[in-house]
């Protein structure tokens, strides 16, 4: 079974050299730490920055330089700043190659719910609806089951949707699964020490298992 860092590490393998990537808050943010050395990957922050660098050294924080999670960050040589209209313009125009974000639920046809729980205080969708509606490739990083032990990979989402038919891949503490165009979670890899049966039990939506399922290499 993977911990959060493990999920981030596994997702990092999905990133191609020479790509532009938008990382959501939570586990996706950790992915930045595992991008292979030598890879040229540019991180987009949807408040208006391409080329997000690491956090600043203590004392070097700049209130004018934050990421979409409102954290103080740095730029890199080659960074560019722009306004929020251009930022979502490049997202909408599919110039961002990959979006990695968290989810509360994913359905077997690729719908995602990650912004609202009815009856609870709703903070808002931020840029998530724009990202999932437009990204060429969307990978979800999340736990396979919720705190109540219920599967988050469902036949259909029960929570209000963030976007429809958009998720391409899911990486959880148990498995890597791709969402097939015709519907269904195709099991691609097991986490170390996790059996196919464990994954079956934790997956409420249609699970497709073909042949031997390899254990992932993290």
């Amino acid at each position: 079974m993977l911990d959060k860092e493990g999920i981030a590490k596994r997702i990092a393998k999905e990133i191609n050299d020479g790509s532009y990537v938008n990382l959501g808050i939570g586990i996706p943010t950790l992915v930045a730490n595992y991008i292979p050395a030598g890879f040229n990957v540019v991180l987009q922050s949807e408040n208006g920055l391409l080329g997000m660098g690491p956090f600043p050294y203590d004392g070097e924080e700049d209130a004018d330089l934050i990421n979409a999670g409102k954290q103080t960050i740095t730029t890199l040589p080659g960074s560019a700043v722009f306004d929020s209209a251009m930022s979502f313009g490049m997202i909408r125009a599919q110039k961002v190659d990959l979006t990695i974000l968290g989810a509360m639920e994913v359905s077997e046809n690729g719908d995602i719910a990650n912004w609202k729980i009815p009856g609870k205080m709703v903070k808002g969708m931020g840029g998530a609806m724009d990202l999932v509606a437009s990204a060429k490739n969307i990978i979800v990083a999340m736990q396979h089951v919720n705190k109540a032990g219920e599967s988050k990979l469902l036949p259909a989402c029960s929570l209000p949707l963030t976007g429809v038919r958009c998720v391409k891949k899911i990486v959880t503490e148990l498995a890597v699964l791709s969402v097939l165009p015709e519907g269904g979670f195709k099991l691609e890899e097991r986490a170390p020490g996790v059996s196919v049966d464990q994954i079956k039990q934790a997956t409420a939506g249609k699970l497709i298992i073909e042949g031997e399922i390899p254990e992932m290499v993290v």
Partner: protein
């Protein structure tokens, strides 16, 4: 050039009145019009509809106006860094319209560029689409979203000249230039107000034609919401 200078925030918002729709630049607490917000709190205008990506924190930004019950409605993409906001929302004192961040940004752009409506895929198939026109282009569904119509836009720039030209610094740019274009009356507060000719015409982010009033702000706090650092 046309001189857009006013003395201070109080003079800038002199005719901003109860019930108006006001845009606020900034993302989180980054690049917010601090002086204008202070002046609004002092002036005590009420029943405002505020278009702002966020709603400030309890003791800063739009949070200060929430404490004074000046806000009737918030139009934002992400709120709730703010206990008072939550209290007013749950008690029904405050109305909130949540819209996707890119839709928020593009509705500003639409207003500034004289486009009555735009199409975006954001929110298709979700509750955001309720009551909106869905239209298919090249096999993909889009929502029609309308340009904003704001009485005032309050923005914060780094440098500006008396002709209203603005330059923003780093990611404090965010919503500021697009809201500057979108207000019927746009007020810009700047950290440094200079004479025409001191800004390179190629570096200007917001041409002065979009700015109606400008002043040099004071006592910027520029608070950091999430101070994150790494070890040396």
């Amino acid at each position: 050039m046309i001189n857009k200078t006013v003395k201070d925030a109080d003079e800038a918002i002199r005719d901003l009145a109860d019930g108006m729709t006001i845009m606020f630049g900034g993302f989180g607490l980054c690049g917010i019009p601090e002086n204008c917000i202070s002046a609004l709190v002092k002036k005590g205008v009420k029943n405002l509809t505020c278009i702002s990506n966020n709603a400030g924190v309890d003791d800063f930004g739009i949070g200060l106006m929430l404490h004074q019950r000046q806000v009737k409605k918030m139009i934002s993409s992400y709120v709730g860094e703010n206990a008072e906001f939550e209290r007013q929302l749950l008690s029904g004192e405050l109305e909130v319209e949540l819209i996707p961040q890119g839709t928020l940004a593009t509705r500003c752009l639409a207003a500034g560029y004289g486009m009555p409506a735009i199409y975006t895929p954001a929110g298709v198939g979700t509750e955001v689409a309720e009551g909106k026109e869905v239209r298919n282009f090249n096999g993909k569904d889009y929502l029609m979203e309308m340009a904003f119509d704001a009485d005032f836009a309050l923005v914060k720039a780094w440098k500006g000249d008396t002709a209203g030209n603005l330059i923003f610094r780093s990611t404090s740019r965010n919503f500021n230039p697009i809201m500057a274009m979108a207000g019927k009356i746009t007020i810009a507060e700047v950290e440094e107000l200079v004479e025409p000719g001191e800004l390179n015409p190629d570096h200007i982010h917001t041409p002065g034609i979009y700015v109606h009033r400008i002043f040099q702000g004071k006592n910027y706090q520029k608070r950091i919401e999430q101070r994150t650092v790494r070890n040396r």
